[in-house]
């Protein structure tokens, strides 16, 4: 296994940081996508919402 830092237990460390990164990406991208979708639908449904700072 490639181990440039020479760490012992590298696979456990990599798995921990990888899980954290995956969960963070899931939460951040998921919330951004949800926000973008509902903003778009709200603008389409309510002409008064266009240009509003709420979105």
């Amino acid at each position: 296994m490639i181990n440039p830092l020479g760490y012992d237990h590298l696979s456990y460390i990599a798995a921990s940081y990888g899980l954290f990164a995956a969960a963070t990406l899931y939460l951040v991208l998921g919330s951004r996508a949800r926000l973008a979708t509902v903003s778009r639908r709200l603008r389409a449904a309510d002409p008064r919402a266009r240009g509003s700072s709420a979105e």
Binding site: L5, Y7, D8, H9, L10, Y12, I13, A15, S16, Y17, L19, F20, A23, T24, Y26, L27, V28, S31, R32, R34, L35, V38, S39, R41, L42, A45, D46, R48, S53, A54, E55
Partner: protein, 297 residues
């Protein structure tokens, strides 16, 4: 299905807001109605001077005001969260020393401890929102509790998974039924139970109330998690960080951990605020669609 039946179906699915909040999430006002107390000069004049806590809470519970405030606050949470999390994790992963007993596996701590902290702090936030929903009938509180739940559950799962990844090389086991691990697992089940319970009723209000009660009952688990390593003999190590200067950890490990914990806490808040903004907008959208369906009917 004809238009009238569609309106009835929508009414059943999305009941109007509760007594006292009917102005908050309903469809946008007609020109002859007013939804904001501040827009009525006589009422606004009555609100001068010290306001009761409840009124102040409700003032900030106005969805429009919340959306404006949240849109302004969000970048100030997201930017520092990203910066501090990357700084703390990078510092811990690359520049902090290895532990004399655990070796490099101690670097898992910089992910595991912030997740553990957030799992309990998030539950405390969930319980506080539930309390506000039950006692003050705060219009945004139910929504806040519903949005904290999934994020808290994921963070708790992450805490359990990274703990397991840390436990295997150190203890030789992925899992042991000691008090700290078991109480953290119970916390995960509480989060999951809350998420399921609020969706288990046809009447969303009853679901929210049942979930709030469960969340408040589950608070008893928080001190159990914290003191489990003192009350019982556990394989999990004892507390090595104290807020009163009683930390037994070296500063070279404590600082990156503190930075990572602060960054992830801000990140948790940013994600919850984003989800809450989306939830408020979704409710507003449902109101608009219902109003449109009524006008067609």
């Amino acid at each position: 299905m004809d238009a009238g039946a569609r309106v009835d179906a929508l009414r059943r699915r999305f009941k109007p807001a509760r007594r006292g909040h009917s102005l908050c999430f309903n469809p946008p006002p007609r020109p002859d109605t007013v939804t904001d107390v501040d827009a009525i000069p006589a009422l606004a004049a009555q609100q001068t001077g010290p306001r009761p806590v409840r009124r102040t809470l409700h003032r900030f519970a106005n969805p429009g005001r919340f959306l404006r405030l949240a849109a302004r606050v969000q970048p100030w949470l997201t930017g520092p969260a990203l910066l501090l999390t990357l700084l703390g994790l990078g510092w811990g992963l690359l520049f902090s020393p290895a532990d004399y007993q655990q070796g490099d596996a101690v670097r898992i701590m910089y992910v595991h401890v912030p997740c553990a902290w957030l799992s309990t702090a998030g539950y405390a936030g969930l319980a506080a929102a539930s309390l506000a929903a039950l006692v003050w009938r705060h219009p945004l509180a139910d929504m806040a509790a519903a949005e904290i739940g999934p994020v808290g559950a994921l963070v708790t799962a992450l805490c359990l998974a990274t703990g397991s990844l840390w436990g295997k090389p150190m203890w030789g086991a992925w899992w042991v039924w000691d008090a700290r691990l078991t109480s953290e697992l119970v916390l995960f089940f509480l989060y999951c139970g809350h998420m399921m319970l609020i969706r288990a009723f046809d009447d969303a209000e009853r679901g929210a109330r049942a979930g709030a009660i469960l969340a408040l009952v589950g608070v008893v688990n928080l001190p159990i998690i914290h003191y489990s390593v003192q009350w019982w003999s556990t394989l999990h190590q004892g507390n090595s960080i104290g807020l009163t200067g009683s930390s037994t950890m070296s500063g070279s490990m404590l600082w990156p951990l503190a930075v990572a914990a602060l960054g992830t806490t801000l990140g948790f808040a940013a994600i919850v605020v984003a989800r809450l903004r989306a939830a408020v907008m979704e409710r507003r959208l449902r109101g608009l669609l219902m109003a449109h369906a009524e006008s067609v009917a």
